[in-house]
Symmetry: C2
Subunit: 598 residues, 2 copies
């Protein structure tokens, strides 16, 4: 039996002193719990991902100093603390030697007793670990923690059998895994399946400790797990909030033969207390609840982490700004949210009444500023140069005047502007750069339009009080949810029209952007080939707009931004094969051996 | 003797058909030259870097099809064509198998005769090759091209001795290197030194073929080289422009013993012609000329590559907008540049006269639009909510009105806005997001303020006609260059003041940003510690502004953007040690062996 304490903590990037103290308090708690070992998240000291802070002079040294301070204060609990280790700079994959490792330190009674270096360094999607780290060079090996042979892993290491199996072959009876695993839809189920599979395959319990908190484009959702040797989930921490718990983990007898562990901690000591009982199993979250809470957490940590006092949202009476305002009120409290209604020359009167009703229900301050006069003035200036696409020029004016005013209010009073565009609009370019896209944090950056509606309905169904939010149910007026989207009400601008109803566009986008399906395959799945081509062209054409968009939280398997890095200038256009044309059969089987025939 | 043809070509990203045809024409030319072998740049077919186009369905297949077409048309010249190869997806560094290789194909008489896979995959600075490619797994090996044993390398492979030496050990008598090496100041000298060193060390000539052209944040400068076995430069192509040339390269006798080459082309055939004599050695460029031409090339390729008809520049009468207008006129021709002067409530009258004179000298159209009324109107709207930092709010209004107007003009008439901020201002946050920073391409993104002055003076000294530009000398009025920078004329906004004269700030920035020196070391070099701290703090504080800035060409060793990736939300602040305090001595020598003592 091993008594394992898990610290599912929020450890923001670069806050070395704060993170050190938070870890130290958690080590004290684990000592009171009588734990044998404490498992903390990946890169607990530095936060994840530190990116080029790792190249900032002093940063790595300061992290090592903080680790030494933690080690000096360590007691009877073996504590696994994520940090950035300094290693000999071996060249290898390119000409720049990497002299850092993504590491876990084994702390015990005043000293660092060992270091584990992450082997698998993810360098895809949002990850860039090969930019910074040298991989661990010692496969296998276990630590003896009291009577148990323990395998230590860091995040990606768990997802490839070679690393786990090498430690199992060396006698690991239990795996302790430090993680910085970001959220997206469906990720927690994938994670749990991998943890369960590993436990079953190796006949060894797995303890999975994950970070919590928003970090720019990602949010870490926690959901730490303990799975026993038979693959049963014995503890599952809640998502999006800190948690700590202690579990007594049963171990199968060690393999025969001599102990292979190279790093050994002291034999068993007297246990000071019985631990807090493990928490009740958190149920798997509702799919919409999970996304909504990811957005609340991501927004709240961005606003607070960047020192903004409050947030301002331009309320249009539409569903996107309503959802952003609701998420902001839930994340920051309604007293830190300011709704501003800015009717333009073409705004229908109900946009003001709907937005006002929304603000009332959320309990946020709301003001009205008319921008028609400013529009008229600027349009007159531009009209001195007639011809061209006057509609295109005019259309940008109103959103940019609104953006300018919101920024002036925010900058004057220490706030941040929250733009309201959703993923669908950002994909097809239905949104104005520096206008409705202006601001510090794009809450709906990765939320497709159809999901916007679903999240509004979910939020209306639940009582905010159950999640610690101040507004109750039905916070978004029904008239906002049921009105037609503005893009479908723009007969004067056919070029800005969305090519099909949002449900269709979102399905095509999911296949094209998230799943990277070929266009022919998407058309074959039953979508109009012309619409498929048009959506793909719009996505491509608007890359330069997205490049300058503010960041927002990733909630799907593929977000725009660092998750999907495309050149601005390029000549490739994926196409649907026109009906009747044969699709090219590609055969690239010629090999180097063919030369003799030439 | 080996007759080597070098194609220093512009091969834009993703233009598979256009690049294929350009390569085919170059192969025909090499045949007419009687060349034995043609060396083309890295990833010649796809352009460099293709980024996540590599994950776009169809892209890699289409590139392989284009390669097959080139192979089918290949004749007696052995042609080395860069492309993306499809390889078995081996896992390794993380859980995502890489099934692509950065490759060179050996084409000869209708077939692909061999493939070389790049070994060293740069994944630092602006490079992300580990995101896409599996490294070559076959060290050493040579190709027999007629009587010569040839080593083939791709870019980074040349920069680490192991790869070169393995081929030398296998008998390589000459190295042919395909490159996609982006420009920054001083890079061409580094490159030449590496090529010369390699040739001397191995006693073998090196042929270095580089790309040409702007690609978003980088510009490839060409400057292809041929160095003989004694390390003498025998050919040096010009920078920033396409070039092709043929050189007869003398070879030392092959090493004794059996030939080790595994891929062999036909023995010598009759030579159809005497080649064009190699070009005169291009002299190393003037330091300022090199930067100026990099900016011209980068801007021109961005504007044309994205289908913009013309560019608009807001002319303030200051030195930054003057330089941007001059570069735009030189890159696009004056008839494709529109200068717009937008006096605000505080603009001095000479700003209009200076800007008008500039436009006249450059031969670009120029108009005046007064924005005072629009400012008054928007300021009144914002003043409904008094208090706070009214100056901060008011200051953003005028640049944002200007930005909105410029964008309206550009969008109406198919143009692109060129913002005018320089690297120093972008570093310390003296620039307004969505205002003077708004636009498609930030020409001076990586040009420090002191370099802006130097480039203006350089451009005034030279006759544009010598470079194919339409305006002659003295294109920038002296009054624009000699007036004090506006940042030093803003007594009402001490918080936006630059912390020291620009020459001092630029030196601190170079040490902090480009060289990543610790702040104490910068202070020790003779800079006021308070100023050093203030500059570092300003750089850090304005990361969120840079994140939304448009791209611009890298010309220094470290540009903001993909070259330097920092989190927006973080808690790390590098500090100067206050006078009198001891600087911390860091000692992290504790090792895992210490455990026994605990």
């Amino acid at each position: 039996m091993l008594r394992v304490a898990v610290g599912q903590l929020c450890l923001p990037v670069g806050h070395l002193a704060r993170n050190r103290d938070h870890i130290a308090q958690t080590m004290d708690w684990a000592q009171r719990e009588g734990a044998d070992v404490l498992v903390l998240p990946e890169l607990a000291l530095t936060g994840y991902p530190p990116e080029d802070l790792l190249h900032m002079p002093g940063f790595v040294d300061d992290n090592l100093t903080a680790l030494d301070e933690l080690a000096a204060g360590s007691g009877d609990v073996v504590s696994l603390v994520g940090f950035v280790d300094s290693v000999p700079g071996a060249p290898g994959a390119d000409t720049t030697p990497r002299n850092l490792a993504n590491a876990v330190a084994v702390l015990y009674r005043g000293r660092v007793r060992g270091r584990y270096h992450k082997h698998l360094l993810p360098n895809y999607g949002i990850f860039d670990e090969r930019r910074y780290f040298a991989p661990g060079d010692r496969l296998g090996g276990t630590w003896a923690i009291h009577s148990a042979e323990v395998g230590i892993l860091i995040c990606e290491d768990l997802w490839w059998p070679d690393i786990v199996d090498a430690q199992a072959a060396d006698g690991a009876q239990v795996f302790l895994v430090a993680n910085g695993s970001p959220y997206h839809r469906g990720k927690s189920a994938q994670r749990e399946a991998t943890v369960v599979d590993t436990a079953r395959r190796c006949g060894a319990p797995v303890v999975y400790s994950n970070l919590v908190g928003g970090q720019d484009e990602v949010v870490f959702d926690g959901g730490s797990l303990v799975v026993d040797a038979r693959g049963r989930v014995v503890a599952r921490a809640p998502q999006f909030t800190e948690a700590r718990f202690t579990v007594d983990v049963g171990l199968r007898p060690p393999a025969g033969g001599p102990r292979r562990s190279t790093f050994v901690c002291r034999p068993l000591r007297e246990r000071p207390a019985t631990p807090t009982p493990p928490p009740p199993l958190a149920p798997p979250a509702d799919a919409f609840e999970e996304v909504y809470r990811a957005l609340v957490r991501g927004l709240g940590d961005f606003v607070d982490g960047n020192g903004f006092m409050w947030a301002v949202v331009g309320l249009s009476g539409g569903v996107d700004s309503a959802l952003v305002a609701a998420i902001a009120a839930d994340a920051l409290g309604p007293e830190r949210v300011w709704g501003v209604i800015m009717p333009g020359p073409q705004s229908p009167p109900e946009s003001v009444t709907d937005a006002t009703e929304l603000a009332t229900r959320l309990g946020v301050r709301c003001d009205v500023m008319h921008v028609g006069d400013a529009y008229k003035l600027l349009a007159e200036l531009g009209d001195r140069f007639p011809g061209g696409d006057a509609a295109a020029a005019g259309e940008g004016l109103v959103p940019r005047i609104r953006g300018t005013l919101l920024l002036a209010l925010a900058e004057r009073h220490g706030g941040v502007v929250l733009p309201t565009g959703n993923k669908t609009e950002i994909a097809v370019g239905y949104g104005t750069l520096y206008g409705d896209m202006a601001g510090g944090f794009a809450v709906l950056h990765d939320v497709p339009k159809t999901l916007v509606y679903q999240l509004c309905r979910w939020r209306n169904r639940v009582d905010g009080g159950a999640f610690g939010w101040s507004a109750g149910r039905d916070v978004i007026p029904g008239s906002i949810i049921t009105k037609a989207p503005s893009a479908e009400r723009m007969p004067d601008r056919p070029d800005r029209e969305v090519p099909a109803p949002y449900e269709v566009v979102d399905e095509i986008l999911e296949r094209f952007v998230e799943l990277a399906h070929p266009l022919d395959e998407i058309a074959d799945a039953g979508f109009d080939p012309d619409v498929v081509q048009r959506v793909a062209d719009l996505v491509e054409r608007n890359e330069h707009v997205r490049r300058q968009a503010p960041p927002g939280v990733k909630v799907t398997s593929k977000a725009f931004g660092r998750d999907r890095r495309l050149p601005l200038t390029h000549g490739y256009r994926p196409t649907v094969t026109p009906a009747g044309e044969a699709r090219p059969a590609t055969d690239h089987t010629a090999t180097v051996e063919d030369w003799l025939e030439g």
